[in-house]
Subunit: 146 residues, 2 copies
DNA sequence: CATGAAAGATGAGCAAA
DNA sequence: TTTGCTCATCTTTCATG
């Protein structure tokens, strides 16, 4: 990847609401040039979106945060599982990891009922053999960026 | 929390770069009223920041993504651990979870050496008794929001 | 890079709690 | 009286060619 684009991504990850003008200053570009690069990365899917990090203790609507260890059935491929999992509501991360299980899935659910539904769907439609769910009691940091 | 603020957070989580005018339209406020509420939430720490979701396969600089299961030493409090862990470089999430371990920590490291250093620091300075690290082989989704 | 259009910030006035 | 909203205005930033 272009090192300038990479630099732009770094700035945008720190502050997604920065103006194109300031972004340009940070990376040594004109506002327009910076804006063009950002727009291009959005078009190309490199930038998936701009989001807001919210203090988990302040957001009452947050619901449950869970981490699910997943073991796939032998007849299920990683691609199949990922394709289905990506479309399920509340799933925020799907990572193929080393260790005893195949995947670690991070998800949010409004309440235990919704969580139960999510787990059921994973088993029925995503080729999941076993799942171990860990529920977040408290999130000191809650977010991907830093 | 104010239901309007909560609604604003919902919109901002979907698109952190939305204009205050459009944000106002979405929640039934004027641009200024919406902007004031956002600024207030930033001041109060409810909004921790605005960030950008990047396609993990496109970001070459990403390095290693790891999930670390942590068991604390009996003489370490959650507060102590969190206080130290929050300041370590690369740690993107610190969550107190149910199950056999105390915490699940999500982190990025530039390379195995940096990962090793991070684990060493956790043991030495954060009161960690045991850690089990799972390394991401592939991240289908990489990000917290949806 | 210039230009019209959009968005952001600021202050005055007003209404409701 | 305090808080929160709107409106008007001025400045900055954005998008297009």
């Amino acid at each position: 990847m272009d090192p300038l684009d990479s630099e732009i991504l770094g700035v945008l990850r720190e502050d997604a609401r920065i103006s194109y003008r300031d972004l340009g200053v940070r990376v040594g570009l004109s506002a327009n040039a910076a804006a063009d690069r950002v727009r291009k990365m959005v078009r190309d899917g490199v930038i998936r979106g701009f989001t807001t990090l919210i203090d988990p203790t302040a957001d009452s609507r947050a619901g449950l945060l869970v981490f699910i260890d997943i073991t796939l059935r032998p007849d299920t491929t990683n691609e199949e599982f990922e394709r289905v999992a990506l479309r399920l509501p509340g799933i925020t991360e799907v990572v193929h990891v080393t260790g005893a299980h195949d995947y670690l899935v991070r998800a949010r659910a409004a309440d235990p009922t919704a969580l139960n539904a999510l787990l059921g769907t994973l088993k029925r439609e995503a080729g999941v053999a076993q799942s171990h769910t860990r529920i977040a009691l408290r999130a000191a940091i809650d977010g991907p960026t830093r």
